[in-house]
Amino acid sequence: MSRETHYQALELGGSATPAEIRQAYERLSSVFDLDSLALYTLVTPEEQGRALQRIREAYRILSDPEARAAYDYSIGVVEAGSPGVVEDDIGAAPNAIESAPPAAGLQAIPAVESHVEHSAAGLHAKSPSDEVHADSQSDGGHEESPPAPELRAGSAADGLHADSSLAETQAAPLDDEEVMVLGDEDVIEIVESGGALIAQPLAAPSILEAIDGETEFTGALLQAVREARGISLKEVSERTRVGMNHLQSIEAESFELLPERVFLRGFLQTYARELRLDPARVAETYLRRRESRSIR
């Protein structure tokens, strides 16, 4: 995985205007301000300092037209508005400029973007932050007018990550070349996440079927459920705003590294919701487990 781009650092698309860049810089600077209460317990002061430094570095480059142009060239972003540029490919998704490989067993095939947009009007509610195009910048795809590949993949670990129009796409008659090919192991389900419908691998039934109202949730079980759902810790952290170090400590049951009960309860409930488990049950059983170890 390559280092995030300056655009991603500021949560912007490649076609962001100077005003948008300025706004993003000011917003993120205030979020990561060293006195920020909102980040209490979430990140260490060192992490906060690094994030601030990263934001400033990104702003320094992107706010300078010449430096930005050179940077855009170096990462392969074609200036927005140039002939032949598909605006959405660059601008709509902050992650669009960093390609991610499609999930194993899936093939991204040139296809049906326009068909999908028309047929699924009103359903296309995907969050820009979730959107990572599966195609590669290096092939110069943005210079060409043919529609973008249909399949969009967040990451290999994410499994298939298609937009809400997937069902429409599959239901409509398609040419052979438009068919999304799934491997034998790619059993998927459509779920809602952050206002968008995404397709993701079904969790291994054996794990989820074993969970009921009496289940005692351990760190290992949470990890198993997460892995069965094909979600990486990094993705959980990004979606829930719970720090990676805390998630790792939860799964490893490194109780001595975990924060006070009031904070841990919040982390556990948030994590449980992400895994589509009962938040109250997860929090209660995990906290009880920690109490029984008499660490705190």
Binding site: F263, R265, Q269
Partner: protein, 89 residues
Amino acid sequence: MATDEEKKKANRLARAIASDISLYNEEKIVKGIEADNFFEALEAELEEGRDLYRSRVSPDLFRTSNYYDRAVVDIIVRSRGHIRSKLWL
């Protein structure tokens, strides 16, 4: 008698705790306000937050101030004044 600095730190701690509760319990808070049972729904979180606050400030300051309760109201409840609820009546 608590110094001004101690009071300031206590207030900051109270607000930080309330802020974290607010951040990680959005759904529960909204439902609690909507159903007008906010304090019952968040009882565990609020009490655990209070326990933490109590453990970090002097007994005298804890007894004679209400920074924690004010922080709960200011940060968790008041910021959601747009939610329709009997809580506001």
